[in-house]
């Protein structure tokens, strides 16, 4: 049935868009509220996904152990996995924050790229941890026995949307709170906010951790949707800069914009998949996916050029002379 196919497609689309929406919200806490240039989202993505995977699967035994090695496997339910993902991500953020928060913003950015790449490389090389390049498969889908497999995605969509809405509400309340106001003030002008550098550091750290925990949840949700994860997924393009493009398009500082941007850019990404599969001649098929690099790059450039609203845009330059 045509409708069936369309609904199915839309559901898959919405699940991914909503998951990315969660990432976008997390980035908005870090960048939109506090001005932290986190170019290492992929790292939190990976931590979240892997933590949930390791928590919710059992350590392989018997014949399977010959093919899959993982360090731990707690075989816990889905929600435990998600919580674990958030905690692990938050802890990683705390560590990263201790090391990098004192850096100048662009050097913080470069550092976070380095960290997220290191995380990916670590998972790739250390087979004992999570099966190296092959990654983990058979990740459990929550509530999968409620409906026939054909309709499962609808259930998952509801699960993801629930998380999205809850996080959104929590953030909206957070931004109106005194805590949120301090964060905004820090972003606007660090010098004027507080004489106490230690306070600013604390707030930045909190913002980094909260954002990271949200991203960890996103990672877990992705893992259980895809059912399988490998290190090769968590690249700068797919795991970091697509989210930056989303936040940029949506307009930063704005939670609604973050989610909207996620849907828009994911639509663009999905269109590009369609374009690659259907329009591009077969001989170019292997190279066509790289069109996404250009897409994301151009989105970043064009949107920042045309509408830098919400960014630390206008710097008043008073001549020194």
């Amino acid at each position: 049935m045509q409708i069936q196919g369309l609904l199915s497609f839309l559901t898959s689309f919405a699940i991914m868009a909503a998951i990315y929406g969660i990432f976008s919200l997390g980035l908005n806490v870090q960048w939109g509220y506090t001005g932290l240039l986190n170019f290492g989202i992929a790292g939190f993505f990976a931590i979240g996904a892997y933590t949930s995977a390791l928590i919710t699967t059992a350590k392989p035994t018997g014949v399977l152990a010959d093919y899959v090695t993982q360090a731990v496997g707690f075989n816990q339910p889905f929600l435990v996995g998600v919580v674990g993902a958030a905690i692990a991500s938050g802890l990683m953020a705390a560590l990263i924050g201790l090391l990098t928060l004192r850096l100048r913003e662009d050097y913080l950015a470069i550092s976070t790229i380095g960290i997220s790449e290191t995380i990916r490389i670590f998972f790739n090389n250390e087979r004992w941890l999570a099966n190296g390049p092959e990654g983990l498969v058979g990740l459990p889908k929550p509530l999968h026995d409620l409906v026939p497999p054909m309709y499962y995605n609808f259930i998952y969509l509801i699960i993801v949307l629930t998380f999205l809405v809850l996080i959104y509400i929590a953030l909206q309340r957070g931004i109106r709170s005194p805590w949120g106001r301090v964060l905004r003030a820090i972003r606007e002008d660090e010098i004027m906010t507080s004489a106490n550098g230690k306070d600013i550091f604390r707030f930045k750290m909190q913002s980094l951790i909260v954002g990271a925990m949200i991203m960890g949840i996103g990672g877990a949700l992705y893992a259980h949707y895809a059912g399988a994860i490998q290190p090769g997924l968590f690249t700068p393009l797919f795991g970091t800069f697509i989210i930056w493009a989303m936040l940029t398009v949506g307009g930063t500082g704005n939670n609604r914009g973050a989610v909207l941007g996620a849907f828009l850019v994911w639509a663009l990404w999905s269109w590009s998949t369609f374009f690659i599969l259907r329009v591009v001649p077969a001989s170019f098929q292997t190279r066509a996916p790289f069109i996404r690099y250009i897409l994301i790059g151009l989105v970043l450039v064009v949107v920042l050029l045309k509408r830098p609203r919400g960014f630390i845009g206008e710097e008043t330059h008073v001549s020194k002379l």
């Binding site: 008043t316 008073v318 001549s319 020194k320 002379l321």
Partner: protein, 234 residues
């Protein structure tokens, strides 16, 4: 003959208006001073003339040519030169290189001109190859002025040339300024050291709160008791 005319200039930074409709005029060959307390807008006036700051209203004319809002790179080619009060040298460049940069817009051999500047400020000669940032306050000021003189300007704008200098150095600087004026260069300077400024100039404007409070001949001002009380600490 009027060489510089500032007409009803309103200027400031961001949303802060500093000059509220100011007019001054300088005749060729004169030495004109603008005195007044801190925050009067003296530096803003010079910045506005030289294009470092764009005026919100009003006009600036150099020899009847409208230079309002032109960028500094163009104004310097027209015969004006500006010595800022602070950050007025290139600290990592040597003394020699600082002077060379002063004549950047010239394509020809500037070495004779450099030697002339050394003749004017002999103390700089020994420090040719020193980074300008290593110089003492007085030498820096001399270098800053020397840099501005490299293009042999017809009109020299100076922002508080006495800043941070010991009295004997102040005298030395002002002696040079008077020399340059005697040789035909028009001088337009702003100063907090009102006494010395009045001694070295023909005409004076008194600026306070972005507005002209008084103007006239420097000699008369020096003798004026009111001015003396307000600005000369008598």
């Amino acid at each position: 003959m009027s060489i510089l005319r500032v007409e009803n200039v309103v200027s400031g930074y961001g949303s802060m208006e500093v000059l509220h409709g100011l007019s001054v005029e300088v005749d060729e060959g004169q030495a004109v001073a603008v005195i007044g307390p801190n925050g009067a807008g003296k530096t803003t006036l010079l910045r506005t003339i030289f294009g470092v700051v764009n005026p919100w209203k009003g006009k600036v004319y150099f020899r009847d040519e409208d230079i309002t809002g032109l960028p500094p790179e163009r104004i310097v080619k027209m015969g004006l030169s500006y010595v800022p009060q602070e950050h007025n040298i290139f600290p990592t460049l040597t003394v020699q290189e600082n002077l060379e940069m002063g004549a950047f817009v010239r394509e020809d051999d500037i070495r004779p001109r450099v030697e002339e500047i050394y003749a004017l400020f002999p103390d700089l000669t020994d420090r040719r190859t020193s980074p300008a940032g290593d110089l003492s306050g007085g030498m820096r000021q001399m270098l800053a002025i020397g840099r501005a003189l490299m293009l042999n300007p017809q009109l020299l704008l100076l922002d508080e040339p006495s800043t941070g200098l010991a009295p004997f150095l102040v005298d030395a600087i002002f002696d040079r300024i008077e020399e340059l004026n005697a040789q035909g260069m028009t001088i337009f300077l702003v100063e907090q050291n009102a006494h010395r400024a009045l001694q070295s100039s023909d005409q004076v404007y008194v600026l306070e709160g972005g507005e002209k409070k008084a103007e006239g001949s420097s000699q008369e001002m020096l003798a004026d008791e009111e001015i003396g009380r307000l600005y000369l600490g008598r």
